[in-house]
């Protein structure tokens, strides 16, 4: 009997490994080996001249990391601090906007009214628009001379006299935050709405009997009940926005331009340094530093939202 169960256990395990093997192989080749190469690269001096030597390029130790972190004279530092600042503002702005609008609309759609399903479907539209189209479209919308935003501001509403430049100067931050919120809030709304529908009505009913007002019900029932949903959305948003690339790159010079010192994000900065200025090693070092920061953020998130359950 014992032998039989051991055999069965081995067979079970062999199935488990057989099923998971293809994915593990793929991840090894596409995720882990490249990551290892990336880490090695960050210790070499790999640029357009040494690229053909591949991993036998000259070893420089921590110099790339030093250049990224502490050497203000290094070429990779040009615009890096602005990119860090922009990425932080952008991430907070987009995450806040996405979750707020998503929550407001989810609460509205959770009520019964005629045409609710149709409205929900219409709200999902931006989420299907490809991000590169989003960037292209909004660059057109923000355009200084022929953009519809400036037309509405100057001709329809008459609030401003001189049309502002949206894709230059500090305004650029708005110009990249708004399209990203526009693209991503429907997803947050969808998740929050699904969460809202799982909260039992009895909770609200008994709160009403106890004399709670709408705001108290929202704050003490809805928010805590939806914690699994909004905390997950928070994490997903943090990661996607810090690593955001498509929308911003397509908004400036149609995918070839410099987003300016108020629009440049870390990903566009590193991409430009790696592929247009051929500083492959410094780019790798910068992305590893960024990744370590990200791991820190995710660890904090875990401490805050997952350990207590």
């Amino acid at each position: 009997m014992k032998i039989k169960s051991t055999i069965q256990e081995i067979r079970e395990k062999s199935y488990a490994y057989m099923f998971i093997l293809p994915m593990v192989m793929g991840m090894l080749i596409i995720h882990f080996i490249p990551m290892l190469i990336g880490i090695i690269m960050s210790f070499l001096d790999l640029n357009q001249y040494t690229l053909s030597k591949y991993l036998s390029a000259p070893f420089v130790g921590f110099r790339n990391y030093f250049d990224v972190l502490f050497n203000p004279k290094s070429t990779i530092r040009i615009g890096l601090l602005q990119a860090v600042r922009n990425t932080i503002i952008y991430t907070i702005g987009v995450t806040g906007g996405t979750l707020t609008i998503g929550m407001i609309v989810a609460l509205m759609l959770n009520k019964n009214f005629i045409g609710r399903r149709l409205v929900r479907t219409l709200f999902l539209f931006p989420w299907i628009v490809p991000t590169y189209v989003t960037g292209l479209l909004w660059a057109f919308i923000w355009n200084h001379e022929i953009g519809v935003v400036n037309y509405i501001l100057t001709k329809v509403l008459n609030i401003v006299e001189k049309p502002p430049f949206w894709l230059m100067g500090p305004n650029t931050l708005w110009a990249i935050i708004v399209p990203t919120v526009w693209r991503y809030w429907p997803f947050a709304m969808l998740m929050l709405l699904a969460g809202l529908q799982t909260i039992p009505d009895e909770l609200y009913e008994s709160a009403s009997i106890d004399g709670a007002n709408e705001w108290q019900k929202f704050w003490h029932i809805t928010i805590p009940s939806l914690k699994p949903v909004w905390s997950t959305l928070l994490l997903v948003n943090l990661i996607t926005n810090v690593y955001s690339f498509n929308i911003v790159i397509m908004m400036f010079g149609h995918g070839a331009g410099f987003p300016g010192e108020w629009g440049d994000l870390l990903m566009t900065n590193i991409f430009r340094n790696s592929f247009q200025l051929w500083q492959y090693s410094k780019g790798a070092a910068a992305s590893i530093v960024l990744m370590i920061c990200m791991i820190g953020i995710v660890a904090i998130w875990y401490k805050l939202f997952r350990e207590k359950w």
Binding site: F32, P34, I37, V105, I128, P130, V133, I141, A284
Partner: protein, 280 residues
């Protein structure tokens, strides 16, 4: 009275957000039918004076859009199929069996999501160059290379969604089948797969949509006859800087296939994505 004013406020807010949400899409479509001089001079802003269907013909003639569209369908379709197979197998294994190494695999699935894509890009490019010099098989600028990268790239997230679906299938069903003498493989194919089909469909479409949206890897890993839509559009707008009419027409054509796919499968996708999320 209070009820009426509350209702008014509700609908006012709803309609405002609805207009704000749909206006950019309306703007894209409406401008794709305008005459370019009309766009540049700001005449007949919200409705074209004449609907120029010729824009679409001109756009098609100016760039090889048919080729890009075909390439995107090939790449995204095959990516979807391969990634679905890989992630279904893996997610089933992770949600049903206990085995040494399971925790590490689970953790590394999450870890892959924290790495910026750009970190993989150069090493993968270098690996492909190396592979070419060793085996004479070219992966850069060919379909197999891009599909291989895509199909593994989207697997971790898909596994994450799918695990929830497999976990929701009661294990008793499988146990009963085991006692009846079914083999593990039979159980998987005949019982588990049909039960998880809605979730697998949702994940598959999600993979397709994500692959359709991918720009960075396609930028580096495609060449002339394998260029996909995002790269094609980027090249196109680089060459026709001020042809906003054609730009918007190209954007509309790039959006249309995924819009159709999404709304045809809307029920599956919404059910699939929300089922995983609510559990947290």
């Amino acid at each position: 009275m209070r009820k009426i004013s509350q209702n008014f406020l509700f609908y006012f807010l709803l309609i405002t957000i609805l207009v704000g949400t749909l206006f950019p899409i309306y703007w894209m479509i409406i401008n794709s039918f305008k005459d370019n001089t009309e766009i540049l001079t700001g005449k007949s802003l919200f409705w074209p004076s004449r609907w120029r269907i010729e824009n679409y013909r001109d756009m098609w003639r100016n760039i090889n859009f048919g080729l890009y569209l075909r390439n995107s369908f090939i790449v995204c379709g095959l990516t979807m199929l391969i990634a679905m197979v890989l992630s279904t197998l893996a997610a089933y294994s992770l949600s049903r069996f206990k085995f040494p190494g399971k925790r590490i695999i689970n953790d590394s699935i999450l870890a892959t999501q924290m790495v910026p894509g750009i970190m993989f890009l150069i090493p993968i490019y270098l690996m492909f160059v190396r592979f070419h010099s060793l085996t004479n098989i070219q992966l850069i600028g060919t379909f197999p290379g891009l599909i291989f990268v895509y199909s593994t790239f989207f697997v971790p997230f898909s596994v994450w969604i799918l695990q929830g679906f497999f976990a929701a299938i009661p294990y008793e069903i499988e146990e009963a089948a085991l006692i009846d003498g079914c083999s593990r493989l039979q159980i998987f194919l005949k019982i588990v797969l049909p039960l998880a089909a809605p979730g697998i469909t949702a994940t598959g479409i999600y993979i397709f949509l994500t692959a359709w949206d991918e720009l960075m890897f396609a930028w580096v890993l495609t060449q002339a006859d394998t260029i996909t839509i995002p790269v094609g559009i980027r090249l196109f707008v680089g060459n026709y800087q001020n042809r906003y009419d054609l730009m918007m027409a190209a954007s509309t054509v790039a959006t249309l296939p995924v819009i159709i796919l999404f709304f045809a499968m809307q029920k599956h996708i919404i059910r699939g994505l929300t089922a995983g999320a609510v559990k947290g």
